[in-house]
């Protein structure tokens, strides 16, 4: 019998299809939206939303690699993201806007994340998975305290503004004419740089989790003892996954810095960012990769509208002071936390899990 050569499509997706028609539609929608964002919508704000989705897609997917596929909870993911962003920012700030500075910053940041991830894992992962969560929480908060304190290097609370190589600045024009009503300037170019890198990194992660390596990770998640008994060195696999995920988060940080031309502690190393990543992964569905995509898109949309919604609710409840306080826009974290806990309780498989269930039941 001749073995059939896998189709190009199968190769690109590493054989891991969405396995649900609705999910496929949604994912295609996201892909079209992201690929055409500069032409589909006008205005800096909408392009910014698209770029944020791209970056967080990598960040959430790399977190899913750890949380969903390894079953270990890290609270240091935002730290690695921050290392990437600050690495680029500091290098470009000190060395001036050149491609080599960008490469040096990114390289140093990636190396630092890998080493740090290895050290954290070596100290804490040997003993118990729960130690790991606590240790990462401690290390991450020490790191963010350090970022705030070392003002001369990081810019402290104000963060760092820096300049990019000229090609990526809004002033640069690739050619004079407009393409479908959009000027192809440096901002559009840097959007496509971010988009292409994100897409590649995502496909790479899809490849990783569907490789033999990914299967072993899942085996360890399901039953560590059994996996070890079969002969896999579980510690080694977990260490590798940990470092890989840290490096990918660092890459996401690099992309974010390139896009924003600014880094600040609130948008990178703060605990809120970490919680956002957690919620994105949980809402989308753990251990599916595609879940991260949906989680990020839903989260970014919700983030823009939840405060507006609360504002109007709070106004309409103004007569009942206590209730109005409960729905005050400043209390959005309360609702965020509630949604988070409820989704862990009732939708442990997330949206992707529900969609796949629908396909099995109704063939959608």
């Amino acid at each position: 019998m001749k073995t059939k050569k896998p189709s190009l499509f199968t190769q690109i997706l590493s054989g891991d299809f969405p396995r649900s028609r609705l999910l496929t539609l949604l994912l295609l929608g996201v892909l079209v939206y992201l690929a055409g964002a500069p032409f589909l919508f006008s205005g800096a704000r909408s392009l910014n939303v698209a770029a944020t989705i791209c970056v967080f897609l990598v960040l959430a997917a790399s977190y899913d690699l750890l949380l969903g596929y390894c079953g270990i909870v890290s609270f240091a993911h935002a730290m690695f993201y921050g290392i990437g962003a600050y690495g680029v920012a500091i290098a470009l700030y000190k060395l001036g806007p050149s491609w080599s500075a960008l490469a040096i910053g990114a390289g140093a940041a990636i190396a630092l994340s890998a080493v740090l991830a290895l050290l954290i894992a070596l100290v804490s992962l040997r003993v118990k998975a729960i130690f790991y969560s606590m240790t990462t929480l401690a290390v991450a908060s020490a790191f963010s305290a350090l970022v705030l304190r070392l003002t001369s290097i990081t810019g402290g609370d104000d963060g760092r503004n820096f300049r990019l190589p000229e090609v990526l600045t809004p002033g640069f024009r690739l050619f004079e004419a407009e393409l479908w009503g959009t000027a192809i300037n440096g901002k559009v170019l840097s959007y496509y740089l971010v988009f292409a890198c994100s897409l590649l990194l995502f496909l790479l992660m899809l490849r990783v989790v569907n490789s033999r390596f990914g299967r072993v990770l899942e085996a360890i998640r399901e039953n560590e003892f059994r996996a070890e008994a079969i002969g896999y060195r579980t510690l080694l696999y977990r260490l590798t996954a940990n470092c890989l995920s840290a490096v990918l988060a660092c890459c996401a940080g690099v992309l974010m810095a390139v896009w924003l031309r600014y880094v600040g502690p609130q948008t990178t190393v703060s605990f809120t960012v970490m919680l956002n990543i957690l919620l994105m992964c949980v809402i989308g569905g753990l251990g599916t990769m595609y879940g991260a995509v949906l989680g990020v898109v839903i989260f970014v949309i919700a983030e823009n509208y939840i405060q507006v919604g609360l504002q109007s609710l709070s106004h309409s409840l103004a007569s009942v002071a206590r209730l109005a306080k409960l729905f005050h826009p400043d209390r959005w974290l309360l609702w965020f936390g509630t949604i988070f806990v409820l989704s862990v309780y009732f939708f442990p498989s997330g949206i992707v899990g529900k969609l796949r269930e629908l396909r099995i039941r109704f063939g959608l």
Partner: protein, 346 residues
């Protein structure tokens, strides 16, 4: 029947306890802490500064211990890691501020006795409130996720956010004040060393709580059951004891202790916001890790060690205070991977 058998076995062995492989008292961690404190002395230079720093560290360490003790017991007994424990600290401190107004005549009175009584009442009420919250918390967030670490971590972190936000809904986002009564303020002078009164009180209360917990665990029937439950839960259940109920009791008591710690911490700082809990969470976790999960003695030793390192380093190089805690943790874990005083079962 049972008395007869014990007396006969006692007759055969001259000293029945000597034959048992009892736990040896392990003094090495204590020596390490003392050595750590002494090693810092030449770095700091002046001995009066060193004494002030050390006493302050002891006070903070005691408060950390009170906050962390419930967490470590809960983990030891039921394998439950409650990352939301820090919210109890905030609730304790906030509850305390609410009692200040009704009890104000005592707080502001001239008499020391009334002052102390007022503080005691405030602490007790705060403990009760936090314990009640702890009971609800256990129902809502701990029980449904029993036995699944991943879910536990996620849910308790979410629960901490919810509780912190509810505190803000109830008490508002403004800074809270928790002033000490006049007779507990000020310092005592020993030669040229000034030591704040409240620090001495905190040390006293911490030592009392520690002694009480150790006595309870070592000498009482409930303590016996808790220790047995920590070592082997199934066996205690098989013997007909209701470990579940015991666990709820320990959880509620632990929450109450965290509330007490929060109140003391609030009095120590005198003004705070809701982040009072989240700020100590990291230190509490480090204390629980390096103490050895489930061990009260370890928790105590670790709390003192962490407080010492924080205080010395924030005096010498303020930017690196939290980093020094991490370093202490790394060194301790490399030396004893399961903590200073690991439990036999794990």
């Amino acid at each position: 029947m049972s008395t007869a058998s014990t007396s006969s076995s006692a007759a055969t062995l001259a000293d029945p306890l000597a034959a048992l492989p009892g736990r040896k008292t392990d003094l090495v961690p204590l020596l390490v802490i003392v050595a750590f404190g002494l090693a810092a002395m030449p770095l700091i230079g002046s001995s009066s500064t060193w004494i002030t720093l050390t006493v302050a560290a002891l006070a903070i360490g005691m408060m950390l211990f009170i906050m962390a003790s419930g967490l470590t017991l809960v983990f030891g007994l039921m394998d439950v890691m409650n990352l939301g424990h820090a919210a109890f600290v905030a609730i304790g401190a906030y509850a305390a501020t609410s009692i200040v107004a009704p009890i104000n005549p005592w707080l502001t009175s001239e008499s020391t006795v009334q002052n102390i009584a007022a503080v005691v009442v405030i602490a007790l009420v705060a403990m009760l409130v936090t314990a009640a919250v702890g009971w609800v918390f256990e129902r809502l967030f701990i029980r449904p996720a029993q036995g699944n670490h991943l879910k536990q971590i996620l849910i308790t972190i979410g629960a901490m956010i919810i509780l912190d936000q509810l505190v803000l809904v109830l008490w508002g986002a403004n800074q809270m004040l928790l002033p000490l009564p006049a007779s507990l303020r000020g310092s005592l002078l020993f030669g040229d060393v000034a030591i704040e009164r409240y620090r001495l009180i905190a040390i006293g209360v911490g030592a009392l709580v520690f002694a009480g917990l150790v006595l309870m665990l070592q000498r009482s029937r409930i303590g016996l059951m808790i220790r047995a439950g920590v070592e082997n839960r199934e066996m205690v259940e098989a013997l007909g004891h209701h470990v579940r109920r015991l666990f709820v009791a320990v959880f509620v008591a632990g929450a109450g202790l965290a509330g007490l710690g929060g109140t003391m911490w609030g009095f120590y700082r005198e003004q705070f916001t809701v982040s009072i809990g989240a700020e100590v969470l990291v230190q509490i976790l480090i204390v629980v890790i390096i103490g050895g999960l489930g061990s009260i003695t370890g928790c105590f030793a670790a709390a003192i060690l962490i407080a010492l390192s924080t205080n010395y380093v924030s005096f010498l190089a303020p930017d690196f205070a939290l980093v020094s805690n991490i370093l202490v943790m790394v060194v301790i874990l490399l030396w004893r991977p399961r903590g200073l005083y690991p439990l036999a079962a794990q």
